[in-house]
Amino acid sequence: MIGGESMDRATPEWLRRFADAEAECPSVSAGARQRASGEQPRGVALAGLIGLWRRSRGMSSAAFAAMAGIEVAELERLERGDEVGGGVLAQVAGVLGVSAEKLIWLCGQGTSSEAALGGVPEGLGARGSIPEPLNPRQAAALNEIIRNLAG
């Protein structure tokens, strides 16, 4: 029975009608603009970028921090989205091989005329100390992001 209290199955007509109407809409996403935790997105973007980069090289957090010449605690602050000094960001930019100015903008601590650079998604970061390697698709995406962030 349609419209009844049972777990009725949608009819083909219902499915086609709603599928066609839904396809005219750009999205069905409901939830939260940024993260569920309400944290600011700037750290999300950088954490995603650093995570991808570390995974592409099989590098732990400690190794990355050492290579950038910063403390592990500073790297963790970066990845949480906390404010860090421009000097720290510049050192990270040096390791990533990207423009320090664009990286600072990506972190929400400056401005950039290239508005299309923001928003690297948070789902890209590796959380373990020994990150999983990237698959070819992820590696290609990382290269593209780095290319766009390059000076």
């Binding site: 777990m7 709603f18 396809a23 996403s29 923001g118 698709r137 995406a141």
Partner: protein, 209 residues
């Protein structure tokens, strides 16, 4: 095990068999995000490469279902997912306590709150990149399931949610939910709600469109 449903495959125009799973686990959400993350990354690269303005990017591009997984230990949280052709095509997380209806005719009565719902990145319509969804109708199938959950809980079909701006048309015009308005307590997202009658109309296919 799950409920058999159908979704529309855009390319063939055919309805294909799918499974709607209830009670997704932490492991399920992690598997889903691992599967989707590469596609999110590929989209970021494509959007950046095409110079698409940030405001036009898919608004849930940054989501991470793995991070939402800890919520599943709460009794009031449920997660549903649609799977077909060997992959997870859409996911929804609902809450069944602590949320009351706001529409005056049913104000104060409990409802199912859709905390998060999203389709897989390959099912998004991104006109700036000329991308079309592989499967259509996934959002409708999941919202239909939320209504069914509401009925099973004794909430008579009442469902509430906060839509991301790009999804307001879907909930207002396609589903026929009441547009209550921007909610300052939820990032000014527009809150939508199904009354009992609207839910009945949606399920029977006679929604206000």
């Amino acid at each position: 095990m799950g409920e058999r449903v159908q979704v529309a495959e855009r390319a063939s125009g055919q309805l294909v068999e799918a499974t709607l799973h209830e009670g997704l686990t932490t492991r399920d959400l992690e598997v889903i995000e691992r599967s989707w993350a590469a596609h999110r990354a590929e989209l970021v690269a494509a959007l950046m490469g095409a110079g698409v303005e940030r405001r036009l990017w898919p608004e849930s591009l940054h989501w991470d279902w793995g991070r939402k997984a800890p919520l599943l230990e709460l009794l009031l949280v449920n997660a549903f997912g649609v799977a077909c052709r060997g992959g997870w095509q859409a996911v929804m997380m609902t809450k069944t306590a602590g949320y009351d209806a706001r529409v005056s005719s049913e104000a104060g009565k409990p409802l199912v709150y859709v905390d998060f719902v999203e389709t897989a990145p390959w099912n998004w319509t991104i006109s700036e990149l000329g991308r079309l969804p592989v499967f259509k109708g996934l959002g409708s199938v999941l919202i239909r399931r939320a209504v069914q959950q509401s009925r099973a809980e004794g909430f008579r079909g009442r469902v509430g949610l906060h839509a991301l701006p790009q999804a307001e048309r879907f909930y207002g015009q396609v589903c026929g939910m009441t547009r209550v308005g921007p909610d300052a307590a939820k990032q000014d997202l527009v809150y939508f709600e199904f009354t009992r009658q609207q839910a009945d109309a949606f399920i029977s296919g006679g929604g206000d469109r």
